[in-house]
């Protein structure tokens, strides 16, 4: 038997065959995301540094408002661990249809296509991954980003005029900025906050971060801007913060104010979204979509009623 050579001299004669093609697999994944997203005309994320400020509620009502204007709209519920879009749209219990071409999303009110982690889960089941993924935040983070990549790359949206992505809470250098980086040719972000000084403080960090990384913020939606007493019809503030001032300081447009509305809250909880355009609260969302449309030059397809700048509640 010939004497064995050292590894270095053996390798110098061999050509490395990259049959695992890890980089190619990752590039293929990226291309797939780009191809899918490329068929969608406009892509907007709805985000906030703070949790519980009404991102999902804002997302569905903006989607409904755009759909009423004749746009083909999709909602991507990227809040993997707290998906609530299907419940709010009365779509709980629905599932994806899996085909060779990809996953076909369920269709909700006004033809809105919805993709959500909820469609994978059994009733009342939380998101839990196999193995010891839950023990390591590093692995969990990688896993969740790969799942989000599948949400972006594996869904057959068809032709969409607008995709609204409802992001999980998080501010600078957190998951939302990473997700934003995942979405090719993103048109901008709608930032939701309450007037609360705590929320405004966190949201301000998001706005500064977005400005620093050159990411376009379409504007801020102030949710829970006040409370209209159903008995005496008096409007009272819920918080003492000043979002208008925040917008001025950061140079961001205030897209609109959404007061707390019991009817709207009940509609979201019951999964029967408000669609009556004569409802003042619905008109508020219509106005916000007009401001977004103006910025993005979105062509409204169907004529909708002329709405006053600030409808009474």
């Amino acid at each position: 038997m010939a004497p064995q050579k050292d590894l270095k001299s053996i390798l110098s004669k061999l050509q490395y065959p990259d049959d695992a093609q890890v980089m190619k697999q990752i590039v293929d994944q990226t291309i797939q995301v780009k191809t899918r997203m490329g068929r969608i005309r406009q892509k907007i994320v709805v985000m906030s540094g703070k949790g519980g400020v009404g991102k999902s509620m804002t997302t569905i009502n903006l989607a409904l408002a755009f759909a009423r204007q004749g746009l083909r709209v999709g909602i991507l519920d990227v809040d993997l661990n707290g998906p609530c879009i299907p419940l709010m749209l009365g779509m709980k219990g629905q599932q994806f249809e899996f085909t060779k071409e990809g996953a076909i999303p369920p269709v909700g009110p006004l033809g809105i296509k919805v993709a959500s982690m909820e469609f994978f889960l059994k009733p009342d089941s939380p998101v839990r991954w196999k193995g010891s993924m839950e023990l390591s935040p590093v692995w969990l983070g990688m896993m969740e980003m790969s799942v989000i990549r599948e949400f972006l790359g594996d869904i057959v949206w068809g032709e969409l005029d607008l995709l609204l992505a409802d992001l999980p809470p998080g501010a600078a250098a957190d998951k939302p900025p990473a997700i934003i980086g995942f979405i090719p040719e993103l048109d901008g972000a709608v930032v939701v906050t309450t007037p609360s000084e705590v929320s405004a403080d966190v949201v301000k960090k998001s706005l500064v971060y977005a400005r620093d990384v050159g990411f376009h913020v379409l504007g801020v939606v102030e949710n829970m801007s006040g409370f209209l007493c159903p008995e005496c019809k008096t409007e009272s503030p819920l918080f003492e913060g000043n979002i208008e001032e925040l917008c001025k300081k950061t140079g961001v447009t205030l897209l609109g104010k959404i007061p707390f509305n019991q009817k709207l809250a009940a509609a979201c909880d019951k999964g029967v979204p408000l669609q009556d355009e004569s409802e003042p609260i619905v008109q508020r969302f219509q106005n916000i979509t007009r401001k977004i449309s103006d910025q993005l030059n979105i062509q409204v397809k169907a004529s909708s009623k002329a709405i006053s700048a600030s409808p009474p509640l």
């Binding site: 064995q4 490395y16 065959p17 990752i26 469609f119 196999k130 010891s132």
Partner: protein
């Protein structure tokens, strides 16, 4: 990652990925020159790390199914999909060797062979822990010979297949002394050892060496 056969001075080629245990992967490589094979078995942590990237070890031979990672990794899902390695596992018995061999071919697109009911009945008589390995051997023989259907005659014929390896009468006699249920696996291992040695005939020298390696489990 690559492995080099130091004897042949050649890169070992990736063959397939198997799932020998829960949360673990067995990645099998073979030297294209001497036919020597080995399986690198990952621990659960490494496997999960690769899974989390959504990358398939060894490269993709198929188009990924939609939400392959999500559906395959969620603990409880309304739309879980069986994984190829899990499908292989379901055919495996309790023997770790048979479990590994049951997965052979799972990473490659091979047209499944048809089995007659008589041939399947014959397989049922084999202890379950060795059945996947015997089935794999019979199918490999049938494919090699171009059979489309596995019949009892093909099973019988495959018993005499030496895969191009000759056996001396003395070595054959000692092979016959090995209990029947473990004989096919022992035969494969002995022939693999012979190929590693670069010989074309299994003789008593090879049998002695084989005994030194795994003969403690056999009377040979």
């Amino acid at each position: 990652m690559k492995f080099v056969c130091m004897k042949c001075e050649s890169f070992m080629l990736f063959q397939k990925v198997e799932k020998p245990g829960e949360d673990s992967l067995g990645v099998m490589f073979e030297c294209p020159k001497c036919g020597g094979r080995f399986s690198m078995v990952t621990n659960p942590g490494e496997t999960q790390l690769v899974n989390a990237l959504g990358v398939k070890i060894g490269g993709r031979t198929d188009t990924p199914a939609p939400f392959e990672l999500t559906r395959g990794t969620l603990k409880e899902s309304v739309s879980a999909q069986p994984q190829p390695a899990e499908a292989a596992k379901s055919e495996a018995g309790s023997c770790p060797f048979s479990s590994m061999l049951a997965g052979m071919g799972s990473g490659e697109a091979q047209k499944p062979l048809n089995w007659t009911s008589e041939a399947l009945d014959r397989m049922e008589k084999i202890p379950d822990f060795i059945r996947p390995m015997v089935k794999s051997g019979v199918e490999a023989y049938a494919r090699n010979k171009g059979f489309q259907v596995v019949t009892p005659a093909v099973i019988e014929e495959s018993k005499g297949d030496n895969g191009g390896m000759n056996w001396s009468p003395g070595a054959q006699q000692r092979l016959n002394n090995i209990p029947e249920f473990i004989r096919p696996m022992a035969k494969l291992e002995i022939e693999r050892l012979a190929r590693e040695k670069g010989v074309e005939t299994v003789d008593e020298v090879i049998m002695d060496e084989s005994k030194g390696k795994f003969g403690q489990f056999m009377t040979m």
